[in-house]
């Protein structure tokens, strides 16, 4: 019979990341060393030069308003990331999975879509959802899993979806959205609608079944879809060179007759250019494109992860120098279209906005008990009606979260 301390084993809430960092130093060279150089390979789309100017050969020709709007969006996303991390540390939300360092990839690709187009997200693209018009309040409601959450508090934080924003439903299983995006765009094609779908996924997801299925169907049926791989160097602790022996992720398109393009994922303009070209190709009826955005995950995988256990901080340096926000700001400075005063005002504005939505989300009550049984089916079948009655009748659990 068990010798376990039974009392101790009735935990309240164990946060996912209740893990100690591994004290052992990493024993093989981090992938970090790989990418900064690769970005200069001749096939990689680049626009924003070191001196802050744009390469006219590839410049997608964004208006100044567009550039400034994207810059503001990127600042907002970064501030949001920081705030959410803090909220998680304070135990006020359970989890966050952020986009530090990947803002240009996420905002640039979202901005390259037309309003008729749809996004099938991974879990790291709240910036794209906000860009597409999902309200910040609804996003925060999801982080708190409250009654106003569009997902009705049923999913973890950062798992939302917004029909209004043409932004699909985030789920955790890696890669599943890729095939779904292909099917969605296929339907649009069958209906002769002018709709392109874009699917986000990490480079780790290229190893999943559904990358294979999605790309293959996209190739065979010439689907108007953009398959956007955020190659951020890591799948949790696994570096991208352990993910595949292929010469790169864009190169995988060959296996499916889908053209592959790589771009500097920390160069907002390059991301816009590569994605927009792919969207236009799709809209012209020429089929799918695999776009690899070469970027870098500067933070841990999520708030549950301590990257020090597998990645020495030193390896980050070359990537910090490529910070997409700093590079964009440098560009604005060179063009003299942005000032420190404007920056301060922007930060104050976002800060105020954040304070408001966090407070609102935090005070919103959890979803109702009954809501647990809704939406399993369109109508409540007998067995769920019985179970709902049982829950209503029975004693209440100690709530968690709020």
């Amino acid at each position: 019979m068990s010798t376990a301390t039974l009392a101790a084993a009735r935990p309240g809430t164990t946060p996912i990341e209740a893990v100690a960092p591994d004290p052992a130093p990493p024993t093989h060279a981090p992938a970090a060393a790989r990418h900064p150089d690769e970005i200069y390979a001749p096939d990689v789309v680049r626009v924003l030069r070191e001196d802050g100017t744009l390469d006219p050969a590839t410049d997608p020709g964004l208006s100044l308003d567009e550039v400034l709007a994207l810059y503001r969006g990127m600042v907002r996303v970064r501030m949001l990331d920081k705030r959410l991390e803090t909220l998680q540390r304070q135990g006020r939300i359970g989890f966050h999975i952020g986009s530090l360092g990947e803002e240009a990839t996420i905002l640039g690709s979202a901005a390259a879509l037309r309003s008729s187009d749809w996004i099938f997200p991974c879990y790291r693209e709240f910036g794209a959802a906000l860009w597409r018009g999902m309200s910040l309040q609804r996003y925060l409601d999801n982080m708190f899993g409250n009654a106003n959450d569009l997902a009705k508090g049923r999913q973890m934080p950062d798992h939302y979806g917004s029909r209004a924003a043409k932004f699909g439903s985030v789920s955790s299983p890696i890669g599943t959205q890729i095939t779904q995006a292909v099917g969605f765009a296929w339907a649009a094609k069958l209906r002769k609608d002018d709709v392109v779908a874009l699917s986000y996924f990490g480079e780790g997801a290229t190893s999943s079944n559904e990358f294979h299925n999605g790309l293959n169907f996209a190739g065979v049926f010439k689907i108007p879809v953009v398959l956007l791989c955020r190659n951020n160097g890591w799948a949790i602790s696994v570096p991208s060179e352990r993910q595949t022996a292929s010469p790169g992720f864009a190169a995988k398109g060959v296996a499916y007759g889908v053209p592959g393009v790589r771009c500097d994922g920390n160069d907002l303009f390059a991301v816009v250019k590569a994605t927009r070209d792919a969207v236009e190709r799709a809209a012209r009826g020429e089929g799918a494109t695999l776009v690899e955005c070469m970027t870098y995950r500067l933070s841990g995988h999520s708030t549950s992860d301590d990257p020090k256990a597998y990645r020495p901080d030193a390896g980050l340096e070359p990537w910090r120098r490529k910070d997409p926000l700093a590079r964009l700001r440098h560009h604005l400075d060179v063009r003299r279209v942005w000032s420190d005063a404007e920056q301060k005002a922007l930060e104050a504005e976002v800060e105020a906005e954040l304070r408001g939505v966090v407070a609102e989300a935090e005070k919103t009550p959890p979803p109702s008990l009954d809501s647990m049984f809704d939406d399993v089916f369109a109508e409540l079948p007998w067995h769920l009606a019985e179970q709902r009655a049982e829950l209503r009748k029975g004693p209440r659990a100690k709530a968690h979260g709020h």
Partner: protein, 324 residues
């Protein structure tokens, strides 16, 4: 009314609904030009063309994954999985995605499609052309599961499944694809989901079954009748959510029940039915509910008829239950 077999009735339902609703799309391996390895989709390619009857690459995950995407767009895909045994490469898309879409999105994204697939033994298909995996889907919240036993029901349940707002697994018992024949109403014909049929009314023992085993249960009931045992035979038709009222009413009348299915016994639908009967009719039970099922082994080839819960195995269970 025309006489049809199951294959013809299902084909008729698909054709009818595809004419009525241009959102309905058939896709799968070999469903197009050749009309499916069992010819269930025969002629649809010619009538509706390559855009609505689509031969896909050999990938069940791709078939279901893209069908989910189509459903999210607003189409009504009716993918075929060539044999239920080959549904497992798509299991992740079905249980992690399809089943949870409406729920996890708070209703933003209902996801409705019907997966048709031949199920069960009877064609000497061995391990991989004979399995009955319904329990592996019933256990997953969010899926409806249907299994017709005759041509008229096959048509009516398929039309109901296609029009139902929820995702449906539609299991077609291949053993009786051609052997079960009967009159099938022309034109529109809906058999509502979650309604069982009392195929043989009786007083002494309730038999709950579905699909191809219905005929074995009826055969065993006929033999039992000659021993003075009057069986009530219930064809579930919809396996989940099942028609609990019909089952419980019958058990309250007879006090005795035998559940019959081809799938392995352990953690199969039979166990669930027994547990539900315990919860809802305990004091009416005169004998322990019995299960006659496939054995807990992989589905064998040569000994197929010793594996299946055919009439010769159902009869002793009826007698034992009746005499308990």
């Amino acid at each position: 009314m025309p006489q049809m077999n199951m294959v013809q009735a299902i084909n008729d339902a698909l054709r009818f609904e595809m004419r009525r609703d241009d959102r309905v799309i058939v896709l799968g391996e070999d469903v197009g030009k050749v009309g499916g390895v069992f010819r269930v989709t025969q002629g649809l390619f010619d009538e509706f063309g390559d855009d609505r009857v689509i031969d896909t690459p050999l990938s069940e995950g791709g078939i279901i994954g893209t069908a989910i995407g189509m459903a999210l767009y607003g189409l009504v895909p009716v993918p075929e999985i060539q044999f239920a045994d080959f549904i497992f490469p798509a299991y992740d898309q079905i249980v992690s995605e399809l089943a949870k879409y409406r729920y996890r999105s708070g209703g933003e994204y209902p996801c409705k499609l019907v997966i048709r697939t031949p199920v069960g033994g009877g064609i000497r298909g061995g391990h991989y052309h004979s399995q009955s995996p319904e329990a592996q889907f019933i256990h997953v919240a969010g899926l409806k599961v249907v299994c017709p036993s005759n041509p008229a029901d096959a048509k009516g349940l398929l039309l109901a499944s296609i029009r139902d707002p929820d995702p449906v697994l539609f299991f077609e018992p291949k053993r009786i694809y051609r052997a079960a024949k009967g009159e099938v109403p022309e034109g529109d014909h809906v058999v509502p989901l979650s309604k069982a049929a009392i195929v043989r009314p009786g007083e002494h023992v309730t038999i709950v079954t579905y699909g191809a085993m219905l005929y074995e249960a009826l055969d065993a009931s006929n033999h039992a009748a000659s021993q003075g045992i009057d069986c009530e035979v219930i064809d579930l038709r919809t396996l989940w959510p099942l028609d609990i009222d019909t089952v419980i009413a019958s058990v309250k009348k007879t006090g005795r029940v035998v559940v019959v299915h081809e799938a392995p016994k352990s953690c199969g639908l039979g166990g669930e039915i027994v547990a539900l009967i315990n919860e809802k009719a305990f004091l009416h039970l005169e004998a322990p509910p019995a299960r006659v099922t496939g054995w807990d082994t992989p589905f064998p080839y040569t000994l197929e008829n010793e594996y299946l819960p055919l009439s010769h195995r159902i009869l002793p269970a009826i007698v034992e239950t009746a005499r308990y």
